[in-house]
């Protein structure tokens, strides 16, 4: 969100907002390069890098073989040597292939070298449940990345945040895992003109309310807002907090909200067990203990592979009815 200045806005989809960030950052800093499978000539399998190759050429937009481990590993080395790569791993399911280089190298090289090297790279990847892409094209392991010291993990959901945080991620001197929920790609929103970054590590209260706090990650923000609309009709005012960055997590904004509302529901589109909701819920339960009027509740994808089936796929995405149900139960407790 724009702060002090009052620029104009334009409507962009999340996908185009990120693309605009890439155009701008590549123009600003010629060390910024795009690396990945079919990101160049083809413009990305979602059109997410369209036009970059034509504008910046083969030395800035690099089409790779299908070699995820080394693609990513090489961007780590490239970053150590002075490049600022944005490396794309096409689907979040495939970051399983790069965890060694992500965890054992990228995340710790700054630490192990006592600041001698920095690893300024952005690993972008598309996640999300939708379109029946099935068990190997729908997973999101953002909880894994957030568990690893030394990484930053960014999960924007609005067009403005997507653009501003991609710009901030590219300028950040740390490895940033930038997780795009592809079900938000065509969601439109106002994006401020000009060179506006959104700082990493700052949550955003996207809706104010007094009765309950919904902490919602990425796409879940949009579903939380729908639920809040339903609840408002009953006079229940939900506050919706979007952490935007899950590592580092802006605990203070979350806790401040819960201390005000005394109730919290945590939402994530990843799997429930040992995922993001447990961390945030336990933080709230510990640090807002004396304020809580009801147990902190959670909704996330159930512990099951994502089926490739139109009848079953919706069952693994928390929906507004479930949210409303949980919150009603909380308020009646």
């Amino acid at each position: 969100m724009p702060s002090d200045r009052q620029p104009g806005f334009k409507e962009l989809t999340v996908k185009d907002a990120i693309l605009e960030a890439l155009f701008e950052e590549m123009a600003r800093d010629d060390r910024v390069c795009i690396i990945g499978e079919d990101v160049g000539v083809a413009g990305g399998v979602f059109g997410q890098t369209k036009g970059l190759f034509e504008k910046f050429g083969v030395d800035r937009v690099v089409d790779t073989p299908i070699s995820e481990p080394a693609i990513f590993g090489m961007t780590v080395g490239a970053a150590m040597a002075g490049l600022r790569p944005v490396v794309e791993i096409m689907f979040g399911d495939f970051i399983t292939l790069v965890m060694d280089q992500l965890v054992n190298q990228a995340a710790k090289i700054h630490y192990m070298s006592a600041g001698g090297y920095t690893v300024p790279l952005v690993l972008r990847t598309a996640v999300g449940v939708g379109g029946n892409l099935g068990p190997q094209h729908s997973q999101s392991f953002h909880a894994w990345a957030a568990h690893v010291p030394g990484l930053k993990v960014v999960m924007p959901q609005s067009a403005a945040d997507a653009k501003g945080m991609m710009k901030a991620a590219i300028r950040d001197n740390n490895p940033v895992v930038f997780i795009e929920d592809r079900t938000t790609y065509n969601v439109k929103g106002p994006v401020p003109d000009g060179d506006v970054t959104v700082p990493l590590g700052k949550a955003n209260v996207v809706r104010e309310g007094r009765d309950v706090t919904i902490v919602a990650v990425s796409r879940m923000v949009q579903i939380a807002l729908k639920a809040a609309g339903i609840l408002a009709a009953d006079g229940i005012e939900a506050e919706v907090v979007d952490p935007r960055t899950i590592m580092p997590l802006d605990r203070e904004t979350i806790l401040a909200s819960v201390r005000k509302t005394s109730r919290a529901l945590v939402l994530d589109a990843g799997h429930m067990d040992y995922g993001v909701t447990g961390e945030i819920a336990s933080l709230i339960s510990e640090h807002a203990f004396d304020y809580l009027d009801a147990p902190v509740m959670r909704l996330a994808a159930p512990q099951v592979p994502i089926p490739c089936n139109a009848a079953l796929e919706p069952l693994v995405v928390p929906n507004e009815q479930q949210i409303v149900g949980k919150i009603r139960a909380m308020l009646n407790a």
Partner: protein
């Protein structure tokens, strides 16, 4: 590398059936290939009609590879397939009704209709599955071969993979282990010249794909992937070697994906002329011409077989469409084995 296959340089038209007998007869090969073709054409129609969810990649044009290789396999032999895998599923003996049911998201499909095109498993016929991970099934097939070797079952395993896998590290690792342990496994690369929208030549180093096999001293052959008899003969040699305890083989098959990367692909990056030239070498027509020329079959006989294939496929698709979808009760089924 200069490895995008070219229709002009392939050797096939001269190929006759003589001197090369596989397990399945040429007519059986014709039947299988026309079944796969009819299957894929039907899938394409159903997909464009909105009946098939998810990501679908068609095997049209590559029929000779799966057909030729599987024609020399036993039911107990195992195959690992990939994202463009319907052809392997059919060729390895898969049930057409269950295949359509799976693609259509019906409860009677191979995976309760929860897997779809890229996750079809057929244990009864030794199919280790199609997979959405490029290169993902290579170690599965090699690992099955490890069991066959350690348990002395006499079976062999086949790993089918696309040219895109030629640069995935796990392929090299699996080839190395197959070679040091002398595993009964065939590595079958279906080189259709592209991985998604990228030409093999832009991303694949080396003078010859065969050098990747040579690095591990794995017997390696280039095979005309549009010639089912050549495929069958090469696979037969490799399977015999494997069963005799002589270890892995690597077959590099030049072929073409008629319908582009995925079913909705507009294929801007492929020259039409090129695809036209490949269609001249269509594996089904080619086999037909060769059989008629050799007087092994009449065109009328072949047409009858093709018609039977289409009819069988149509009936299966029709029946599958009427089957029920899974319900919420099916969501958690088979999460853990007992």
């Amino acid at each position: 590398m200069n490895a995008k296959p070219s229709p002009a340089t392939a050797s096939s038209e001269k190929t006759g059936t003589s001197g090369r007998t596989g397990t399945a007869s040429p007519l059986a090969l014709y039947r299988t290939m026309t079944t796969i073709r009819a299957f894929e054409e039907t899938v394409q129609r159903l997909f464009l009609g909105g009946h098939i969810p998810g990501l679908v990649h068609l095997y049209m044009g590559q029929e000779a590879v799966a057909t030729g290789v599987c024609s020399v396999l036993e039911k107990t032999d195992m195959i690992g397939s990939h994202h463009r895998g319907h052809g392997h599923c059919v060729a390895k003996g898969g049930d057409l009704l269950k295949l359509f049911a799976e693609l259509l998201g019906k409860r009677d499909g191979y995976g309760l209709g929860r897997g779809g095109s890229m996750h079809i498993f057929d244990p009864e016929n030794g199919n280790l599955g199609t997979t959405g991970i490029v290169g993902g099934s290579v170690p599965l097939a090699a690992g099955a071969a490890l069991t066959m070797k350690l348990r002395k079952t006499g079976a062999v395993a086949v790993s089918f993979f696309g040219d895109g896998v030629l640069n995935q590290g796990i392929m090299f690792e699996a080839m190395n282990m197959a070679a040091i342990w002398n595993l009964p496994v065939l590595f079958v690369c279906e080189n259709n010249g592209f991985g998604e929208y990228t030409s093999i030549d832009d991303v694949t180093a080396g003078e010859d794909i065969a050098d990747r096999g040579k690095a591990f001293a794995i017997p390696t052959e280039h095979v005309d992937g549009m010639d089912v008899l050549a495929m069958q003969a090469a696979a037969k040699r490799a399977v015999e070697r494997a069963r005799a305890g002589e270890g892995p083989s690597f077959l590099i098959c030049s072929t073409w994906r008629y319908s582009g990367h995925h079913i909705a692909d507009k294929q801007d990056y492929k020259e039409d002329e090129e695809t036209k030239a490949w269609r001249e070498r269509d594996p089904i027509n080619q086999l037909a011409r060769s059989l008629v020329k050799d007087k092994a079959a009449t065109q009328a006989e072949l047409d009858a077989v093709a018609e039977e294939s289409r009819a069988k496929v149509a009936a299966a698709a029709e029946a599958a469409r009427k089957l029920p979808s899974p319900t919420a009760d099916d969501l958690m089924e088979y999460l853990y084995a007992e």
